[in-house]
Amino acid sequence: MKKILSRIFLLLLFSFVFFAAQSQQRFPKPEFESGYEQPTPTTPEPRSAGMEWADVFVLLAVLSMASWLAIKKRSRKGMIWLSLFTLIYFGFYREGCICSIGSIQNVALAFFDSGYKLSLTVLAFFLLPLIFALFFGRTFCAGACPLGAIQDLIVINPVSIPSWVRKTLDFFPYVYLGFAILFAATGTDFIICRYDPFVGIFRMNAPYIMILLGVAFLFLGMFFARPYCRVFCPYGVLLNWMSKFSKWHMTISPAECIKCKLCEPSCPFDAIEIPVNEKERTESSVRKNLKRFSFYLVLIPVWILAGGFALSKAHVFLSRANPTVYLAEILITHPELKTDTENLDIQTFLESGKSMQELVEEATLIRNKFRRGGWYLGGFLGLVLGIMIMNQFTMRKQEIYEPHKGNCFSCARCIDYCPVEKKK
């Protein structure tokens, strides 16, 4: 009985609070006499989580199919059909979003921001292609990546790029990867998604400049095959590492290579390793190379320090990409902008009741992250550069024609050029 009484009391109290609050409404809700029925606002559901897992399943299926096509079936034709499917499904149907390349940023942010919730499906998109690359090579690039697919299908008249240009361009994906992680980890921006040149085409909708960029990439891609993959793709860096040590990589020849050279021009990506003439390897050249190799090996710490120093010095400039830092800085350097009613960011900040000191503290925290991040990023890029230069003076032993396991996209073009029959 007591319980019921207390409940009634509580109910009364609640309704009192409710009506007291309601009375503060400027215009109370009318009581209709005409039998008007008030509609309720609709809340259309987002795409279900189950569908997201279906995407993971499709990715898994496509990856398996691509690996089978490259390694077992050895069929270029099959690969073309598969990449067409990928282009339609992950490209035009899923509109390029949820993609392994962009997932790097989610994973990076999850490590640096404890408040960030990483979706398991995104983690799966990040890990699956890398695991496959570790066993089968970059079959993701060949068949499961919509960005790769759209570029692969328009390779019309690829030209061979001189090796020094290629090796220089090899450095850029590392830069892109490094900056993407820096910007994601500091909670500044997802540059991979923002500057994805093809997502505008998949969505048939993007800022004018991004569509232009996408079309420019496609046009360039007719001659310089897969420009995004080779010069920019940050995920390609990780795939390259995995694929370099892959267990079963696609081979050009189904049996023993007869060094007929027929496959040499078949690769639009210059990813075929050509046999090295052993006769050129004299004792003096070996010694000279070894000397240079050791010199550049010793130089690596210098590169690391120089890179770290340079980028940590650039942290003030880099951190301006962060909206909070930018706002704080502009308010300090141009206080007169506070009266600029056109500047939405400044006006909203002034109205928000947040104090200038709070903003500056927040901005300083982010800027310090950039300084620390600059050291790591610069050091990493210095290391990569140092290793790349050092590697110029390694003596490779190459006896047969085979794909460069790191750079090869496993697109299976070269397979059709090989005259060797499979041993029965």
């Binding site: 409404q25 809700k29 008007y36 309720t40 987002p46 962009g102 940023q105 919730k117």
Partner: protein, 191 residues
């Protein structure tokens, strides 16, 4: 014999590197999985933080924007002189285009009974500019507010309007709480 040895060494390096890479991949995977959530995340506008700057209409990757005005009828005063519908200083309280605040005439004004009018948002026409929201908030009860409509939203990895939102009103939340529909006035008071 020497050839064999060399091959063995190469194999060994390959295998060692493969195991190292595999292990680090597993490490990253497990470490990330501890921070992961099985739930799907979507973008949401908090109407109590929103300042109707108008960027939802211009910066969303969808054109027209996936942000639409939502009418919380519970809050509506059904005013004849609706601050969300009419321009300040409108000539007449009628549906002429010159009187309307909405640039796309996406609000339908329907007579119910003296002196009440119902206002209905046509989402096909709404561009999410928030002009009506601002008007309703300034002169009325604030029953109009902006929400991301999840049947239209692409759920981009990084929401383009979240990035430019000056009031940090847009955040990532579990899909089970995808909407904040202003209910009754008490909620407004609480927050």
């Amino acid at each position: 014999m020497a050839e064999n040895k060399k091959l063995d060494r190469r194999d060994f390096i390959q295998k060692g590197a493969r195991i190292t890479l595999g292990a680090s991949l597993a490490g990253i995977g497990i470490a990330a999985a501890t921070k992961a959530s099985a739930e799907k995340y979507v973008w949401q506008i908090d109407p109590f933080k929103c300042t109707q700057c108008g960027r939802c209409a211009t910066d969303c990757v969808k054109n027209p924007s996936a942000v639409k005005c939502v009418h919380a009828y519970d809050l509506c005063g059904y005013c004849d002189l609706c601050g969300g519908y009419f321009k300040p200083g409108a000539n007449k309280l009628e549906t002429g285009a010159e009187n309307q605040l909405c640039p796309t005439a996406a609000i339908e004004r329907r007579f119910i009974e003296e002196p009440y009018f119902e206002f209905i948002i046509d989402e096909e026409l709404c561009i999410g500019c928030g002009k009506c929201v601002k008007g309703c908030g300034a002169f009325g009860n604030g029953s109009l507010h902006l929400q991301i409509r999840h049947d239209l939203c692409d759920n981009c990895n990084e929401c383009a309007i979240a990035r430019v939102c000056p009031s940090d009103a847009i955040s990532r939340i579990p899909a089970s709480q995808a909407y904040i529909i202003k209910g009754n006035f008490t909620e407004t008071q609480e927050s």
